[in-house]
């Protein structure tokens, strides 16, 4: 198939960006979206042009490195699919495709489609963990955890930290990302000791980083390649309120 691509080009963090148009021919339906861009990049290198910078790594949908907005939708049109797992058979001959980076103040563009998601790491540093040093642990089976709770924790822990939730949110809020971590650790007995301080500190850091507030658009869940539920946001709000009124422990 033949496609017309409009791709965001921006030479560096402080440079002005713009959409540039590229025509690509003979795209195989079996290619992944990123392989389609690989082929375009090889062409550009052949012509002495600068290839399009985009982040990617595992290409199996688990590392969370890749991400771009395709025709207005983070990770493209297929539900619960990262862009590396999106295949060209989703598109048809003659399609025009708009490709842009995640757009959020807390995710500055580094180059073309690559953004800096260091803000996620800094949110994690304020409380996204259980404070247990190596060597402190008791036997794993001394603390039975119901299968329901373990599964619930796993549902939240499936987050890959890609940032699609932020890109999808009209407020650029990081609520789903933060709530997934708060929900994961809060569902487990090991996570109770620090439960309220965790919610408090991580929410505060979210604000410091410049993420917006949540106004329940729920676009985040729709865009999440792992299908993380917005119910975790409600849970985090409860933990946060408990922390405010219960005092920080």
């Amino acid at each position: 198939m033949n496609l017309r691509l409009h791709i965001w080009r921006q030479a560096g963090p402080d440079a002005t960006g713009m959409l540039k148009t590229y025509d690509v021919a003979n795209v195989s339906e079996h290619m992944s979206f990123l392989e389609m861009l690989d082929v375009l990049n090889e062409d550009l290198i052949g012509k002495g042009e600068i290839p399009i910078a985009f982040d990617h790594d595992c290409r199996e949908g688990i590392c969370g490195t890749c991400g771009m907005v395709i025709n207005g939708r983070p990770h493209g049109p297929v539900a619960k699919t990262t862009v590396c797992q999106l295949h060209m058979r989703t598109f048809k001959d003659g399609d025009e495709i708009y490709i842009e980076p995640w757009r959020a103040r807390a995710f500055p563009v580094m180059r073309d489609l690559i953004v800096d998601r260091g803000s996620f790491d800094r949110i994690m540093q304020t409380g996204g963990f259980i404070s247990v040093n190596t060597g402190n642990a008791q036997d794993g089976n001394t603390l039975p955890i119901s299968k329901i709770n373990a599964d619930h924790a796993m549902d939240a822990a499936a987050c890959i930290g890609c940032g699609a939730c932020v890109a999808a949110c009209p407020n650029s809020s990081a609520m789903l990302f933060t709530a997934a971590k708060v929900g994961h650790l809060g569902a487990l007995p090991q996570g109770q000791t620090e439960r309220s301080t965790r919610a408090m500190n991580m929410v505060l850091q979210m604000d410091v980083e410049g993420f917006g507030a949540c106004t329940n658009h729920l676009e985040c869940e729709a865009a999440c390649p792992k299908g993380i539920s917005v119910e975790f946001i409600a849970q985090m709000n409860r933990d946060y309120v408990a922390s405010v009124f219960g005092g920080r422990d």
């Binding site: 392989e35 002495g48 994690m124 930290g161 487990l188 090991q190």
Partner: protein, 636 residues
């Protein structure tokens, strides 16, 4: 050079306890005076950095990712082994040790493997305490599954995302230490060289991938946890950014590289669909429990699978290995698939594929049962290929998955360069010539959480190190060399992209040093790889060195692969036997099975760098087996 394993004296079962009992310690107040560099933030690197920081050391951690959570450990699906014996099914530390040694085809060091089995149980406890959501039974206790190469259920798992969950656990511990100011994390930094001062590893040269700035970072010890080199084959199940640069540059600075020819080929991957293919995707080995593997009997049979009658199909694994059938071990199943395809009986557009057919299982058990067992895998397959495996057989083909070789290390996980420690897939130590499923995660975390925190302290307490700074002539020279290398690469302005060289190298490696090797092919590869270093005359890297430049990143990695590939071939050529992931066609039994030669090759081959294009020097560490009997693996 004599290779000293530094294995403690005494019986195997007491060595680690004895080692720790007599270890020299660093006073808690003095630990903060030591600076440690950890390169890589996968399971081994993140767990090491976090644990060393907890102990009080000043840690600098480096990753080329934008976040420490993205390392390729994250992609491991199946699980992590531990000798907990929660199932009461006869597991023990000794059994896990024995299975690992045997699975590795008797080419690993006993003492290291025994210690690995010993600390395996603590790993599970630590991960549970961190909040890793392992699968549970309804009673709330930890669940186990079985895995290849073992007769007990000792594999712990978190759905099909065990690697992800364990890595997130280690990442969380690391983030905590970063927040506490004990770890300085350097994202988007790629190691370009090792700095050796007075014979000791004292720092690294690193390139900031955003600004292009190249600088030195100094420390009292350097820990490499930089993963494997499977991407030398271009196509593999490794993530795109995995590369050999860190370990290979250390090798060029004097560290010995051991057993580079030991590579693991996984039999169940989705076949390549075209020239544009960028990587291969693994399908869990568990599919072989219910799928039957076959190819057409006739060569060049292009009929759709449902029009090939039963009598004209060759279920070759069931035919050749009646007792293990479709569940034959990874290396054997992989080679058999290659044979069928080489014979012109492969399927799919490229002819490089075999069928994995669920029709019998579906008619026997019903579609619902199969969906319940493998639903997510079938979905993944359909997403990638566009074919519905419930109605059309899957097509699979083997792919490079893991590399057992790595930098040579002693019992302390220290290389022959004092102060240079190597953990996880980057070292050679625990898996011999073949790794068992669910053991990579175990080794990465064992090294990082439970081995290096002890052995590094012993190194510091054992002798005094002079202070060094970035002004040291060795550091300045290494920075200058790296800068010149970048400058040179950018100035060539030739005709071919780094990817085109990488792809060509990959094809040579796969063809000549892949699933099966022979003297003729390896000799040929040793001529062709140096020719491919026309890279240095004909590569083109657009852009500059002072910006985010992915072509340059790739160019620097490919340049190292172009030297490293040669080292692999030298190793494969010298090892005149077949063992584990190394199958030399000249050394097989009449039935086509691997034929080990314990009299001549029961050693780890550690290679010393002697210059680009010059044959490396071989050093041998004899492997002594005092606690197990060398035996031949049989799966007939």
């Amino acid at each position: 050079m004599e290779l000293k394993s530094n294995t403690p004296n005494g019986p195997l079962t007491e060595q680690w306890d004895d080692y720790r009992a007599h270890l020299k310690l660093v006073n808690p107040a003095n630990k903060r005076k030591y600076n440690v560099i950890v390169v890589g933030t996968g399971l081994a690197g993140a767990s090491a950095a976090a644990t060393l920081a907890e102990l009080g050391y000043n840690v600098s951690a480096f990753t080329y990712h934008d976040s420490a959570r993205r390392a390729h450990s994250i992609a491991a699906q199946g699980g992590i082994n531990a000798a907990k014996n929660y199932q009461n099914d006869g597991d023990s530390i000794f059994r896990l040790f024995y299975d690992t040694i045997k699975g590795g085809d008797f080419r690993a060091r006993e003492s290291n493997v025994y210690r690995l089995a010993q600390v395996s149980t603590s790993i599970i406890d630590q991960c549970v305490a961190q909040g890793v959501p392992f699968a549970r039974e309804y009673g709330g206790y930890l669940s186990n599954r079985s895995f290849g190469g073992a007769q007990v259920s000792r594999t712990f798992y978190a759905r099909g995302q065990t690697g992800q969950q364990l890595l997130i656990g280690a990442y969380q511990a690391l983030m905590r230490q970063v927040g506490l100011g004990k770890v300085k994390l350097h994202n988007k930094q790629e190691m370009m060289d090792l700095i050796v001062v007075d014979g000791h590893a004292r720092g690294i040269v690193s390139r900031d991938m955003v600004t292009g700035k190249i600088e030195s970072f100094m420390a009292d010890a350097v820990v490499l946890a930089t993963g494997g080199y499977g991407n030398v084959f271009y196509l593999s199940t490794n993530a795109k950014n995995c590369n050999v640069t860190a370990t290979y540059r250390a090798h060029k600075r004097g560290a010995l590289f051991a057993n580079p020819c030991y590579t693991q080929i996984h039999p169940t991957c989705i076949p390549q669909s075209g020239d544009y293919q960028s990587k291969l995707t693994l399908m869990s080995e568990s599919l072989r429990n219910d799928g039957r593997i076959w190819v057409p009997l006739k060569k060049g049979d292009t009929r759709p699978p449902d029009q090939i009658p039963e009598a004209e199909r060759d279920y070759y694994l069931e035919r050749k290995y009646p007792s293990f059938g479709n569940l034959s071990p990874r290396d054997i199943a992989s080679r058999a698939a290659k044979e069928a395809c080489d014979d012109g009986r492969g399927v799919g557009p490229s002819g490089l594929g075999v069928y994995l057919d669920f029709a019998d299982a579906i008619s026997r058990l019903g579609k619902d049962v199969i969906a319940d067992r493998y639903g997510n895998l079938f979905e993944m397959y359909e997403r990638i290929t566009g074919e519905d495996p419930y109605s059309v057989p899957m097509r699979i083909y083997p792919a490079v998955h893991y590399t057992m070789g790595g930098l040579w290390v002693d019992y302390d996980l220290m290389s022959n360069v004092p102060g240079l420690f190597v953990l996880g897939e980057a070292n050679f130590s625990d898996h011999g010539a073949n790794r068992l499923g669910a053991s990579a995660l175990m080794q990465g975390l064992a090294d990082g959480y439970f081995v290096i925190p002890y052995t590094l302290g012993g190194y510091f307490a054992g002798g005094k190190l002079d202070s060094v700074s970035s002004d040291a002539p060795e550091a300045k020279a290494a920075v200058r060399e790296a800068e010149e290398k970048v400058k040179l690469m950018l100035s060539i302005n030739g005709k071919r992209s780094p990817t085109s060289f990488h792809r060509e190298l990959g094809a040579i490696m796969w063809d000549k040093c892949g699933m099966s090797r022979n003297e003729k092919g390896l000799t040929e590869a040793l001529t062709r790889i140096p020719e491919l270093r026309e890279f240095w005359k004909n590569v083109v890297i657009p852009g500059s060195g002072a910006e985010l430049n992915q072509s340059l990143e790739l160019g620097l990695r490919v340049a190292d692969f172009l030297e490293f590939g040669e080292l692999m071939c030298y190793d494969a050529l010298h090892r005149n036997e077949s063992c584990g992931g190394h199958f030399r066609e000249e050394y097989q039994t009449e039935d086509g099975e691997a034929k080990r030669n314990d009299d001549e090759f029961c050693y780890a081959a550690a290679w010393e760098y002697t210059g680009v294009g010059s044959k490396p020097t071989l050093h041998k560490e004899p492997l002594e087996f005092e606690n197990v009997q060398l035996a031949t693996r049989s799966y007939k």
